[in-house]
Symmetry: C2
Subunit: 354 residues, 2 copies
Amino acid sequence: MNLRELSKLLGLSQTTVSRALNNYPEVSEVTRKRVKDAARRHAYAPNRWAKGLATGRPNAIAHVVPVDSTHEMVNPVFADFISGAIEVYTSHGYEMILSLIRAGDGPRIYRDLAARHSVGGLIVHAPMRDDTRLAMLDEIGTPYVVHGRISGARRPYNWIDMDNRRAYRRAAEELIGLGHERIALINGRAGMDFAVRREEGMREALAAAGLPVDRALIAGDEMTEQFGYEAAMRMLEARRPPTAFIISSLVSAIGTRRACEALGLKPGRDISIISHDDDLSYFRHDGAQPYFTSVRSPIREHGTQAALMLLRAIETPQEAPLQTLIEAELIPGRSTAPPPKSSPPEPPAPNLAS
Amino acid sequence: MNLRELSKLLGLSQTTVSRALNNYPEVSEVTRKRVKDAARRHAYAPNRWAKGLATGRPNAIAHVVPVDSTHEMVNPVFADFISGAIEVYTSHGYEMILSLIRAGDGPRIYRDLAARHSVGGLIVHAPMRDDTRLAMLDEIGTPYVVHGRISGARRPYNWIDMDNRRAYRRAAEELIGLGHERIALINGRAGMDFAVRREEGMREALAAAGLPVDRALIAGDEMTEQFGYEAAMRMLEARRPPTAFIISSLVSAIGTRRACEALGLKPGRDISIISHDDDLSYFRHDGAQPYFTSVRSPIREHGTQAALMLLRAIETPQEAPLQTLIEAELIPGRSTAPPPKSSPPEPPAPNLAS
DNA sequence: TTGAAAGCGGTACCAT
DNA sequence: ATGGTACCGCTTTCAA
């Protein structure tokens, strides 16, 4: 069923039917009702292509996600984020297009997206410290919002991000306040902008307390359970192990916790672990105290926000870039864990038999 | 830059330029090269709307995800799945549209999707035991592939699914083989088709071994850490606690493990926990043995498969439905845990002081 | 308040 | 091998 058929059926012109359906004021109410009823009855739905072609207005937002073989960004955080964004798009008549790009893809992809004329704006995911994508995007002129920030950016741009630096400063401060001096950081992949900021935050706290930075206590990689395990194991088995961990992801924290347990270190007693949920709320993995991963992380909310920002940028060309900084919520654990007395507990001596 | 401008520029007709770009054989090689070079130089990209309108061929696949307030299906499994699917779409010239629908949305959504003419097929996510969506879809006639199965379906349909029933039967059999008689199931949300099958699988094993089914040992809900904790806590504190758990998700298993620890039960010694990763590979949460959540779960592969199935269904109308059953891989743990001696360990007596 | 007709940017048929 | 032209289905002037 298309517009012409529908109009024939009603004995009206396409024009009138179109106007009635699109709520143009000049259509009489009785006609409009007749048209809308008929449209519903015959399950008429406009052809998006024709509509797009005629109006020239974009009807989709693309989420651009970089992927390479080692680095899989379609992760839980991302899922939450887009689920929030989608809702906004739907209620505004946009579709959401998911677009994976490879590291080597270059500007062509973005140009193509823009040239299609169906994409009105982009959300840029997983920015790196020096992301070259901004230059391409600015050149092309499609509105975009970055989920995260790009430290090396030359010009202002639209972004929504959490205050990673402050959050990690506070996490470190809390541990320092408990007496810890050897604090390890299990971070995200080096080069990712959020990881850079998190490390900076921790360094700030250490510097303010006059504590040295031990590079051996900083590790960064894709945030998997395995990475959390191996990085922690390596650090704990070294000569000068940490007494506390700050961990960039819930998943890695599971691995780290396992490593501690494997070495007989009880989190909350022999070792302190501050992890953060995807929303950067802190909590302790101390086993005894049930503290749960939030099901609906605020990340979803961020997706909603980002989408709204983008639609605003599309519909009303902004002079100043839109920027949203989200403060992390601090959820203190009930049990505190100062560093173990004098010498840190020895890991169980390996290979006693040999 | 559009086709007409490009053709003017080249002194050719639109027809020829179009043919050159779309690799029609009748264009001379020299012309084709000239056209393609010019297209690249001027960053020409065809308008998807015009192209779609002219060809009538769909250029997008929609992934339809049910959402309601209590039930958030945009989860890690889903993310992995679509990341696999997207790759297929991209290489076949399709876009991927994400479409969230609410439980009450009814057939209109599907009809609209189909009527748009830009959507060539659907992937249906998170099917329920008696999912009413199939009827709508069949009526509308758009090709679709279900990720999962629908037990109550009247007619054959395309699906890709794991063999949940067999996997859970085997899990229970393994525990029964160790001597367990009180096996608890922490399952997914009641009504979800996969949860139905998982429970059936466990019941089959119990029945085959002549063991009774204790309904108090079966719980099902959204698979969060909190649910895993609370369900396990409830069961363990009851008069006749289980000696083993089978858990439907990695995340819930974390909660269950915490509950056990809180009650002083060491997994692998006092209690047996078989969880499964998203790929249904089994493993034990026994603390001592590092076993990792797979980063790139096979689910991604399933997404790829589903996408390929759908494209096949779109491009060549099938007589028989396409159906892919994926067998779960069984990864045995190194340490086994028979049920504790005679009487199960008493949970610590609460409120001794009162 | 309604209608006729000219696009929007491609594709594909029919000529040449 | 190339070109002319009639569509595809909708919106939007312009006229009535």
